[in-house]
């Protein structure tokens, strides 16, 4: 619930949707950050949807009507971003790569969010030995470097080799294992806080069952921070996927385009002056992650009334307002455990 709208009816649904409501209450520098992030993210999503239209060639296409593609060709009319050592068109691979990234994000987050939220609710509400065991397990998972875990998972699931879905599932599963504790932690903390709220006690007093209390009273109130975690996790998922690909545990170029894999193959090119094979997939990763992170960070700042900039009462605009020094609980929990490649 948005505690700041004190008066009037509940706003129409469209204005209460996460990103839209954030946009409406942003101002100055914060709005700039959010808009930049949104533009990058929307561009990324559009690319995904329109990949078949935008990309001139398939992700595994090595030849067309005019013959086999030349290897390591510099950007030119036929191949606007050049070709790789294997003869793939760089531009097409970068475009198709966004599809892989989105599928991995969706599958990974879908797998982790349900389990994490359910476990968090149970653990926080009932407490006791269940809580202790789950927290220890979550901590144990945190203790592993996520990339190592992802590699192990990838070997277990597909023995390191992969088809499209095999590779996707391996990556997503590996990422999900790392994310479940994050959702678990956040939901558990919220549940413990809400459990002591008078409205939960009042439900207990009238004789509501535990399932009813969890489902009706705690769940909706505990999941407010999820859009935020989702955004931040999405960028982490891309980084993990790219990391796996870079280390050679990714998806074969014949099954799908994957930025990390292309970067790996571009390593040898870098020293011989062939810059286009590395720069473009790299830029794709950076821009996508930057976009998602900007959206996530802005949402985090805008969620917190203390960090949110406002038009001053006289109508003057104070400079930006919120930095990102102070953090909300959810963010702090994430930050502490955040790992990068």
């Amino acid at each position: 619930m948005n505690a700041t709208t004190v008066s009037g009816r509940k706003q129409p649904l469209i204005y209460r949707l996460p990103v839209i409501s954030h946009f409406r209450k942003s101002i100055g520098l914060q709005r700039g950050m959010l808009v930049t992030g949104l533009v990058l993210t929307i561009a990324f999503l559009l690319t995904t949807v329109l990949a078949p239209v935008i990309a001139p060639y398939g992700y595994s296409q090595l030849s067309d009507a005019s013959g086999t593609f030349p290897a390591q060709q510099a950007p030119s009319g036929n191949h606007i971003l050049g070709t790789t050592v294997g003869g793939y068109d760089v531009f097409s691979r970068v475009i198709w790569g966004s599809q892989t990234a989105v599928v991995v994000i969706v599958v990974a987050v879908a797998m982790s969010i349900f389990l994490g939220v359910a476990l968090g609710l149970l653990s926080g509400y009932f407490g006791g030995w269940l809580d202790r065991v789950l927290v220890v397990i979550a901590d144990a998972i945190y203790a592993f470097p996520s990339l190592l875990l992802a590699i192990v998972m990838s070997i277990v699931i597909s023995r390191g080799q992969s088809s499209f879905w095999g590779g996707i599932l391996a990556c997503s599963f590996a990422i999900a294992v790392v994310f479940v504790p994050q959702y678990f932690r956040v939901i558990r903390a919220e549940t413990i806080r809400l459990k002591a709220e008078p409205f939960v006690e009042s439900a207990k007093v009238v004789g509501a069952s535990s399932i009813r209390i969890m489902g009706r009273h705690i769940f909706k109130n505990a999941t407010r921070t999820l859009p935020l975690i989702f955004t931040l996790n999405a960028s982490e998922a891309i980084l993990t996927l790219a990391g796996l690909g870079f280390l050679g545990f990714g998806i074969e170029p014949s099954s799908a385009a994957e930025w990390g894999f292309d970067l790996n193959k571009a390593m040898a090119d870098a020293s011989s002056g062939i810059w286009w094979t590395g720069v473009f997939p790299g830029a794709a990763i950076v821009l996508t992650v930057l976009g998602l992170t900007l959206v996530g960070e802005s949402m985090n700042d805008l969620n917190d009334p203390r960090l949110r900039g406002r038009k001053s009462a006289g109508g003057k605009v104070p400079g930006g307002g919120g930095g990102s020094d102070a953090r909300t609980g959810a963010q702090a929990a994430l930050e502490a455990e955040a790992r990068t490649l």
Binding site: A3, K25, E201, A203, V205, R216, A313
Partner: protein
């Protein structure tokens, strides 16, 4: 400058030059919902040695006015007008100048002493911090650490902390709540400012401690000629301490008068309404005229015999006895008032009856069910006969559900009604608590505090319970709202005829509603009896002290009570 710790021999008459002048002050806050005009146009002045009380309900702008005096407004606020302290306009001075003014010319006493003190430093350090922040030593240098500590000891002695030489090295947690507030006052006094702004200085304190702090503030004024701006919503405190009263309502000054005039002949309607709403001990007692306990013919709904409730201590320390051998009964149709200060165990008893806390000893029988071996499954059928009203109406409704859903919840859980039946019953109940039935579709944040508490009452009554437990139902509300809710409670109790356990720290409120009153002190029930007997002629020492400490909203009567109180404590 040097501080003057010698008492001013004769209290300056409050006719001298003003130490604080506020002229046409306006404060506006930028919020998501547009600009909020917190203070619209306030002008007032405070003379040397004068106690000016600013009273008003929540949202009246009294705290914002107080914070403006020290320049403590948040960034989202814009203020205009003049706030003159010793010739400096706080609204427009530079940050550096403001820092000099704070502590030296004006100091603040906060509401909650436990959060106003930093737990990781000794109180001496915290008092000295203010002294050393100003170049108050010889030759305009900083005060040395040793001198500052000596002054901190002096300040602690002034506020009546026993053995200040030792206790200057104590940490805040080693003091009780009242002593912590004394320390905060000592810190405010350290540089001997001419003006102290006290924002609800006694609201977080128990009534017996409140009496001591009020005594201390009065002493400061009398001995050192300090002017005090007292922000409070408690009319009893105003009657006890203030010389002059400024009544604020929605950002404007409604009325300004000397304390005697204001209480005797208020001019404005708002002031009249406000004063009429203040509960006054000994007036409007529910048990007036009773000579023996009422409702004894009916069934006994709650019976406690030697009830003991312990909270487990930490490893190695013994369990904490929140309730210690308490025996009482509540019969059908009776309103049992439970009074006590914080930590007396009154809320614990209420929660135990509702099955929210476990009892650990003795016997507590609720509607014939022995709570000592409480099993949620077997107790659940009885829950429909117990209603519970919580203290904070803002927190006791799920913000995601409509009022209708919240009120209907007990009905849906215990019976299996059709949606039409639910709507009808919710509508009826809302009407009986004097809310329009259309409010069922609203969300809790769209209702005011008093409306929410009425809805809360509706929820508790929807199943026609035999027993209602009301835990401080009005202490989060403004007085005028409180008066309406209490009136409603009384009416509904007579109409529905349920038994009620009414828990409150406010003696006057309990007396207005309860037929039979029990007084709790440190987990023990020290006295119980017919309401007006307990309030009028208390027998136990603690009850006597409690009642004598309670300030009544009438300056003349309060002056007399103060003398009695002093006599009782043997001062």
């Amino acid at each position: 400058m040097t501080i003057n710790i010698d008492p001013v021999p004769d209290r300056q008459q409050p006719t001298g030059r003003p130490v604080l002048v506020i002229d046409n002050l306006k404060v506006t806050f930028a919020t998501d919902g547009g600009d909020v005009y917190a203070v619209k146009d306030v002008s007032l002045d405070v003379k040397a040695g004068e106690v000016v009380a600013i009273v008003g309900e929540s949202g009246s702008g009294k705290t914002v006015t107080a914070k403006t005096i020290l320049g403590l407004l948040p960034e989202t606020a814009t203020s205009s007008g003049v706030v003159l302290i010793n010739g400096n306009n706080v609204v427009s001075v530079s940050a550096a100048k403001l820092r000099q003014i704070r502590g030296r010319d004006v100091a603040m006493v906060f509401q909650e002493p436990s959060t106003a003190l930093n737990p990781v430093f000794t109180v001496g350090w915290q008092i000295a911090e203010g002294i050393r922040a100003h170049a108050g030593g010889p030759g305009g240098k900083r005060v040395s650490a040793r001198d500052a500590k000596a002054r901190a000891i002096d300040a602690l002695r002034k506020v009546g902390i026993p053995d200040p030489e030792t206790r200057v090295n104590y940490y805040p947690h080693q003091f009780s709540g009242g002593q912590k507030q004394r320390v905060v006052i000592a810190a405010a006094l350290a540089l001997n400012p001419g003006l102290i702004v006290a924002d609800e200085p006694t609201t977080a304190l128990d009534v017996t401690v409140q009496a001591e702090i009020l005594e201390l503030l009065r002493d400061l004024r009398d001995k050192y000629g300090t002017s005090i701006v007292l922000i409070t919503h408690n009319m009893g405190v105003v009657a006890d301490l203030a010389d002059r009263v400024v009544v604020m309502y929605q950002g404007d000054v409604v009325e300004e008068a000397s304390v005697k005039t204001l209480f005797a002949e208020p001019r404005q309607d708002y002031t009249k309404k406000l004063l009429a709403a203040v509960p006054h001990l000994g007036r409007n007692s529910a048990s007036a005229g009773m000579t023996e306990r009422a409702h004894q013919g009916g069934k006994v709904l709650v019976e406690a015999k030697g009830l003991t409730i312990e909270y487990p201590g930490r490893l190695g320390s013994p369990a904490f006895k929140a309730v210690d051998g308490v025996s009482f009964t509540v019969s059908e149709g009776e309103v049992f008032g439970l009074v006590g200060e914080s930590g007396s165990g009154k809320t614990t008893i209420g929660r135990a009856i509702a099955g929210l806390n476990r009892t650990t000893g003795g016997s507590l029988s609720v509607l014939g069910y022995e709570m000592l071996n409480l099993k949620e499954r077997t107790f659940k059928p009885l829950r429909k006969d117990i209603g519970f009203v919580f203290q904070d109406p803002a927190a006791s409704f799920n913000p995601q559900l409509t009022i209708g859903d919240c009120v209907a919840e007990p009905l849906i859980i215990h019976t299996n009604p059709s949606p039409a039946q639910v709507r009808k019953r919710v509508g009826e109940l809302l009407e009986s608590v004097q809310l329009p039935a259309s409010y069922a579709d609203r969300f809790p944040h769209e209702l005011s505090g008093g409306q929410r508490q009425r809805a809360s009452l509706a929820r508790a009554l929807i199943l026609n319970p035999k027993l209602l437990i009301a835990d401080e139902p009005t202490s989060a509300l403004d007085v005028s709202v409180q008066a309406k809710v209490l009136e409603l409670f009384k009416e509904i109790q007579q109409e529905f005829g349920f038994a009620a356990l009414f828990i409150s720290h406010d003696l006057a409120v309990v007396d207005m509603l309860s037929h039979w009153v029990g007084v709790l002190y440190k987990g023990k029930l020290v006295e119980q009896g017919i309401g007006h007997h307990v309030m009028g002629a208390p027998r136990h020492d603690y009850t006597k002290r409690l009642i004598a400490s309670l300030p009544v909203p009438d300056p003349a009567e309060q002056a007399k009570r103060r003398e009695d109180h002093r006599a009782l404590l043997g001062i």
